[in-house]
């Protein structure tokens, strides 16, 4: 059983972070970065994040695993059909990776290969179903596996998106399809998070709040304009704009969201984008 699974089942407040594979084969820097993360249970390894082509997430997750760093392997439906997804998941299991974050994935149009054919043979719910099938010893067509993988599958959600009922029906489906935890999109809205966590109660599935470290008002504007599903509210932008030290303000904002999460959620997922050294400040009570 992974540490992530163990901590979440024991009800321990759990912290995850994330790293992105390099564009190229130089993995030393990102391995160092992952090794420097402190107070973290597992580190997500992103899968061609933002539809930008990078070294394989599975390869990096495996390299980190060999160094004793627990990972959450992100798997998207954008680049692989159901056969490739199944064989990659079997490969992940053979390499010792248990934690998964199963996603639809950003559309290729956003990334650095806009002419790539977006696959989306499966959606995230079907990917979860397929994973549950593998864990039950069967592939998608019902053929038995020689050696059954064990995973701790998770899913993503944007808890403050509207209409809530439409978003939440998919959350419910994801739980029915075997999602054992959620990592959320970056959150800055306490009321929205509260509404979501209330709805989550009957589903009994742990939620790690997504926390994005904002460095400046400019970054907040960029996220609002260009990153699908991320919304930084006006009040937060205003705080960054009027702060003497916007980066310190960004850390304070992140720390507040950690505070709400300690009250309402089961953990946090930190997206610090190169500022891993500030994680202790963000987690400070």
């Amino acid at each position: 059983m992974s540490q992530l699974e163990k901590k979440l089942s024991d009800g321990v407040f759990t912290v995850t972070a994330e790293v992105a594979p390099p564009k190229g084969t130089s993995v030393d820097a990102v391995v160092d970065q992952a090794e420097r993360l402190c107070g973290i249970t597992a580190v997500n390894v992103t899968d061609n994040q933002g539809a930008n082509m990078r070294l394989s997430a599975l390869a990096l997750a495996s390299l980190l695993h060999q160094r004793g760093i627990e990972t959450v392997l992100q798997v998207t439906c954008r680049d692989r059909n159901r056969m490739a997804l199944q064989s990659d998941l079997l490969g992940a299991a053979a390499l010792g990776i248990e934690n998964l974050l199963l996603l639809s994935g950003d559309h290729s149009r956003f990334g650095d290969h806009p002419d790539a054919k977006p696959v989306f043979d499966l959606d995230s719910v079907q990917l979860l179903d397929m994973t549950a099938g593998l864990m039950a010893g069967m592939d998608m067509v019902g053929k038995p596996l020689d050696g059954t993988p064990y995973f701790f599958p998770g899913a993503a959600v944007n808890p403050v998106a509207e209409p809530f009922e439409l978003i939440f029906q998919k959350v419910r489906k994801k739980v029915e399809s075997g999602a054992r935890f959620f990592q959320t999109q970056a959150i800055f809205d306490r009321v929205g998070l509260e509404r979501f966590m209330n709805a989550m109660l009957p589903l009994n599935t742990p939620v790690l709040t997504g926390i994005l470290l904002l460095r400046s008002a400019k970054m907040a504007h960029f996220l609002n304009d260009h990153i699908p599903g991320v919304h930084v509210p006006e009040s937060v932008v205003a705080r960054l704009e009027s702060a003497a030290d916007p980066f310190a303000e960004g850390i304070a904002i992140a720390r507040e969201v950690v505070g709400w999460s300690r009250e309402m959620c089961q953990g946090v997922h930190l997206m610090t984008l190169g500022h891993e050294d500030r994680i202790p400040d963000i987690l400070a009570d």
Binding site: C77, R78, R82, S104, D106, H107, R109, F110, P118, F120, D121, L122, D123, S124, V125, Q126, D129, M130, M140, A156, V157, N158, A161, E162, P163, E165, L166, I167, Q169, K170, K173, E176, S177, Q185, P228, G229, H231
Partner: protein, 218 residues
């Protein structure tokens, strides 16, 4: 209707460059409505070729260029003009071009790009609503196709990129799942939301498609 548009003239110019005599073919159906391969466009192309110092041996606008026997008949009808040409230049969708190429040994040049199966919104404005997946889910999705009108073809609800009911790939586009949700709610039925939709059987739209009408009375 198959939506098509003329290839850039520069591209056509490069292909016709080494050749001299052309027989022109248009299509009386979709390409006429799209104003990419009707009488008028065939005439314009003829004028353009002549301007380039080329010869046009003849032309025809086939009723429906995707109809193989009709295309064959029209080509036979213009046999000598076809024979005189170095190449047949076709202003029809990719299907139409291949009706022609399957009926002649001559070089065939396609003058159009075929874009999608589209609905006409108003003249000159088309929208893709169906991508012919072979297993239609419209009855559960309030008559709105997620396979085609969701940019990712998702079957179990919206992705995390939906914002204010708009699609993540283009804020001008409605999110298909938002539309489906609103319409089903208005009709007060759960529709597709009542179940987890399993992975799609893409074998139903395996390429190349073949279809044989059953019970034709024979």
């Amino acid at each position: 209707m198959i939506i098509s548009e003329r290839k850039p003239l520069d591209e056509i110019r490069k292909i016709v460059e080494p050749l001299q005599r052309f027989f022109l073919i248009g299509c009386g159906a979709c390409a006429t409505v799209c104003k990419s391969g009707g009488e008028e466009e065939v005439f314009q192309l003829q004028e353009w070729l002549i301007d380039q110092g080329k010869e046009v041996t003849g032309s025809v606008v086939i009723d429906e260029a995707c109809h193989l026997p009709r295309t064959g008949r029209d080509l036979r009808h213009h046999k000598s003009a076809v024979q005189e040409a170095d190449a047949l230049l076709v202003l029809a969708c990719g299907g139409g071009v291949q009706s022609v190429s399957s009926q002649t040994e001559k070089m065939v040049i396609g003058g159009l790009n075929s874009v999608f199966l589209g609905n006409v919104k108003r003249f000159g404005q088309y929208e893709e609503k169906c991508s012919l997946c072979g297993e239609c889910i419209l009855n559960e999705t309030a008559g709105i196709c997620p396979v085609t009108t969701c940019a990712k073809g998702l079957l179990n609800g919206p992705c995390g990129g939906m914002e204010d009911g708009r699609c993540e790939i283009d804020s001008e586009l409605d999110c298909a799942w938002h539309l489906i949700y609103e319409r089903l709610k208005q009709q007060n039925r759960p529709g597709v939301f009542a179940r987890r939709v399993p992975a799609k059987a893409w074998s139903k739209s395996c390429k190349p498609g073949r279809h044989q009408l059953k019970n034709t009375g024979r």
